[in-house]
Chain length 477, copies 3
């Protein structure tokens, strides 16, 4: 899911990205001048090739703008599928759909229907075209579609389910828009809140005991879980890391999780690393809080931490090592919160959805601090961690240059002030000389009245010689 | 219940309404010039007569301002009773009280006490007099009073109940004022949130197992409801529409519901139509989500949709057909939400109250869109759907005129620019002529030094003749 | 707990307080001029002595700024302990710790660890140094530490508990900072919301059925409590007042409660009085709502009302008798809310914590009213009730003076306007005289042409005499 509804600032930004994008990439790559020029060229070509399908595929997005509408819609749907993980990349979206199909055909279909109708609904409601094109209205739709299928107790291929699926998907942009009106006051994204609200709405409105749309039975824990540390399965524990990433989309197949990791890596390695880190943090937290092993193996402790770590670790904050520590802290907090919310919501027969991620990430994005090492990006500037970092560096550079410029100006002013003072001193000296000379002349005049006219001329000459020096500083001032 | 706390903007507005009101009415009525003048006059008189007791009865409100305080208070209480349905009309309030008495004497008494004390408390707390006079502090009070009586398990005429009733009614303006401080940031009304908060507070604070103020027992569903489609009673299903409207005030008597429909029609036909539409939507949603027939017949699926449809369909948005569709969508969403909230709150022994309406209407009022067909009225301008529509039309007209005016100005400026250019060109020409003449003069001077003084005079004359034309354009510029 | 995060405005404020503080104290004391000067001097000396350890001990705080860091940290921790009751005073904090040790060693240790790590975490997160020094980051920490120990089912001296204790304490500044970002929009403090959130988080995340950190079992009421009014124990009922104050820190020992009362009285008698009042209101409310006597004796009805009464009664509003009534109303509302929240949260195995206080106090702080008797202090100006009152009085005095000044100016302007008018009238008269004279002159000229030059001079003389009077007023205008 995305950062946010980027509003109109995004559109012009995307149009001008193609060139900048490559420049950024090249700037980011350390240009080793010692290498052979042929190797360098090959590397540059490779980087350029990579830039076509990594990041947010801005060149492709621009090319798409001139294509047939249905093709455009498909691009938006694929981007929407990837935006669940904050990835604005149709290729990642395609790979994610492949992973979903590997997991379950029916779920994949429901996910596709959800994304499609959420995007269409956003078009009908006349939401910002830039945000729609970035998939920011689709990611809640895919989650609504998928999870409604996952938690349905009516079994696969229960076609009636598509009706509430379509209705709820089409409600996504409405709820997104409403929440954005509130969250934008604090420059916060809506995350997956619309999905959380709508899926919980559907599940609790129908419930387990319903004739049309029954849900799976979820009940609160009422006795001590049977945990014996001797029985722990280390292989399954390791496997819980990709499973945790898969659980973001409600999938428990470790291969699906692996495919998702690949799709993340294509777009942004930083995102990918934080996803793995988050899943690991979740698993460790589960062990620390004495959770039943089954829940840990099933990835239920991981998926919220995955999203929280991605969001804090480079997506909405510029990645510094302080932010990296903050992301880890947020991961542990999110795991704690996940357990709490799961226990509360089970009282209503509800799963935790991604409420823990939303609440923990929003909390950590609301922090204010006096250090400048934790820099929250303005929402319209959020793209993907690598580019956010470039933005942050550029901004810092600019600030430094401005500081240097200011210092330079200050120094210049000081020098000028010194010059002015010197000129003034010189002026004063000349004036003193002049008055001294005039006095001398006057004395001469008094003593030698016969030489008056001659001396006078001379005196006048001197003054005309002096005047220029007397007035010259005025030009410098 | 009202739109909102209209604050001080309302007071002057109400004072000047009497004349405007009639003008609006007449403007809204299509003046058929083909009719006989006598018929026309009769119609105008009828419209004027209707205007005295329809809409917000602004003439009556103005007349009331000079009356005895207790009479004024009665007016405010009656308006408060009608404001539950967003109707600012004492006649509607009177009819609603009649409906309540038809339902249950004890409930009606509690409702009256609630409205009265809520209004008095607002006076003590020095809230805006305009808002009090519009009944905006009474509608939560009547609901608190009524519903506390409805959900009390102590039976009718348990006089001790009046104590918490009065306390909670008097808390209404406090909670209203606090919520308004928050909601006003998004230009949103508080709806019935104070009522929801306070009634839930009372019910859950005492609970079913209480010696002083026991509540009726509400428990969550724990088994499949027994639904056989053959047993459906179509007559009861139709009856559920007025019952749903009656349930806004907690009344299950269809006649009471019918009386409420009449009271709505008196003030605003659009409101009335949306109320019926909302109740129908709720009934259909109940069938779609496999609700037990009993709950549908009892109007529990209707009352929230009634309020949501009224609020969105013309009350806070200007009624266009896009807004009408939005109101229908909001109705379905509200029904879904109603089922969800009822299930959640039953876990605490609570009814759904009007939480679903509040949350769905607030969500739909927070939407932002790029189309101008969905126009949200600024809160101080909200009155009743017909007048809101007039305001919207007038605004559109004004915008059009402003556009035309701008275009006119643009054209004028263009013409002026052309004129200026022409004048400049003429100036330039004259100057050229002048210089040519002067050159000729100079040549004459050179050739004829004896004619110097004469020619000079001539030249000066010419320049003095030229200056006016040279300076004249400056006045036009 | 504190008012709020005073941000940077606090720091300069605290530095300049030492002198002002004493002045305020002296100004507040009614100077009886009839007394002997020796007695007066003794009194002044006593007041000065009292000012050193009462109020917010600003002199001590200033002196502390130059001390060793660990000593400073201890000061902050002690202030943090007292800030739970809105008291910014290390001596009160010391006495409170004494009370805690009297109650339970293990709890006191956990409370200390919580305050310490919360303060350290705030330092790491680079929060405002002024707020840290006022203990505004510690008070949530002490509550988190204490209540996690109180509600732990693992018994005393279960050392592993310190791990989640430290984690949750260190999360306090993060949650505080995030909540402050939201609440500051309405100029509201965060109260104990971080504590409520974090303790509920820990308790519900682990729950009663947990191997590592089991919580005490809390279950909802499912039958009528056994209340016989004959069995009521009046002594215990009276004792419930100090117990209620002790329960703010989770202590049920009446002596501990008594010690807390003393610690409050040292810093601010108004705070102390409202604490006792609040506890009494809570006890009465419990009786009114038919609560089981055991809960009332145990102080569970008191502690929220204690905090609510302190917060409204002089802490965030300037204390007038209207505000005093508001504080009492808030106390009753808080008790109602307390019962409601306790019933709801028991469904999840949670205690009510101080949610009722937070919600009721925030509601009452959000009220807007047209009277100027209810004055909400701007958050950076909040200190302690006595000083808040001084601020309010000073402000009122200033307003009065400004009003008088304005009236004076108005009067002066009026006088000047009258003067101007008089001058203008004189001018007009002179002009009329002049024209009359000129006319007479003209007539003389006509009749006596031979006297022309003489008369002309005369006339000119007259006009030159007139001109000064004609132009003089221009200087006054």
């Amino acid at each position: 899911m995305p950062g946010s509804l980027f509003t109109k600032e995004l559109q012009p930004l995307m149009a001008q990205l193609d060139l900048k994008h490559e420049n950024d990439k090249q700037a980011a790559a350390p240009v080793q001048t010692a290498e052979a020029p042929c190797l360098q060229r090959a590397k540059a070509r490779l980087l350029k090739g990579v830039s076509y399908f990594s990041g947010d595929m801005a060149v492709f997005a621009k090319w798409m703008e001139k294509q047939f509408f249905l093709l455009q819609l498909l691009d938006w749907v694929l981007r929407g599928a990837a935006q669940v993980m904050f990835v604005n990349n149709p290729l990642s979206g395609l790979i994610i759909f492949a992973g979903l199909i590997l997991q379950n055909y029916w779920w994949a279909l429901n996910g596709f229907v959800g994304t499609l109708f959420a995007t269409i609904s956003a078009l009908i409601l006349r939401q910002s075209r830039g945000a729609i094109a970035a998939g920011l209205y689709g990611y809640n739709g895919i989650l609504v579609g998928l999870l409604m299928a996952v938690f349905s107790n009516a079994g696969n291929w229960y076609w009636w389910l598509l009706l509430p699926n379509i209705f709820m998907s089409m409600m996504c942009p409405i709820v997104s828009s409403a929440l954005a009106s509130i969250n934008s006051r604090w420059d916060l994204p809506v995350f997956t809140l619309p999905f959380n609200i709508l899926v919980c709405l559907h599940m609790v409105a129908t419930g387990h005991y319903n004739h049309h749309f029954p849900q799976v039975l979820i009940q609160p824990r009422t006795e001590l879980p049977n945990i014996t540390w001797e029985e722990i399965d280390v292989a399954k524990l390791f496997m819980s890391v990709p499973v945790g990433i898969g659980q973001v989309y409600g999938c428990d197949n470790p291969w699906t999780g692996g495919i998702f990791i690949i799709s993340l890596f294509i777009s942004s390695p930083i995102t990918c690393a934080h996803a793995v880190l988050g899943s690991t943090i979740g698993m460790l937290s589960g062990l620390a809080l004495a959770a039943p092993f089954g829940a840990i193996y099933f990835g239920l402790w991981g998926y919220n931490c995955v999203l929280a770590c991605i969001a804090i670790g480079g997506m909405f904050y510029a990645l510094t090592w302080q932010v990296h520590l903050l992301a880890i802290t947020c991961g542990f907090f999110c795991a704690y919160l996940g357990s709490a919310i799961a226990n509360i919501m089970s009282a209503f027969g509800l799963p935790a959805c991604t409420w823990p991620f939303c609440l923990s990430a929003l909390t950590f994005l609301l922090i204010t601090t006096e250090t400048n090492k934790i820099f929250k990006l303005p929402l319209p500037k959020v793209t993907y961690p690598e580019k956010n970092l470039c933005f942050f560096w550029k901004m810092k550079k600019q600030e430094k240059q401005e500081k240097l410029e200011e210092e330079r100006k200050k120094k210049e002013e000081e020098l000028r002030a010194i010059d002015d003072e010197m000129i003034l001193n010189e002026k004063e000296e000349l004036r003193l000389n002049l008055t001294a000379m005039e006095e001398a002349n006057d004395m001469q005049i008094v003593s030698m009245p016969e030489a008056e006219s001659e001396q006078n001329d001379n005196g006048q000459q001197q003054t005309t010689e002096d005047y220029p020096t007397d007035e010259m500083p005025a030009n410098y001032l």
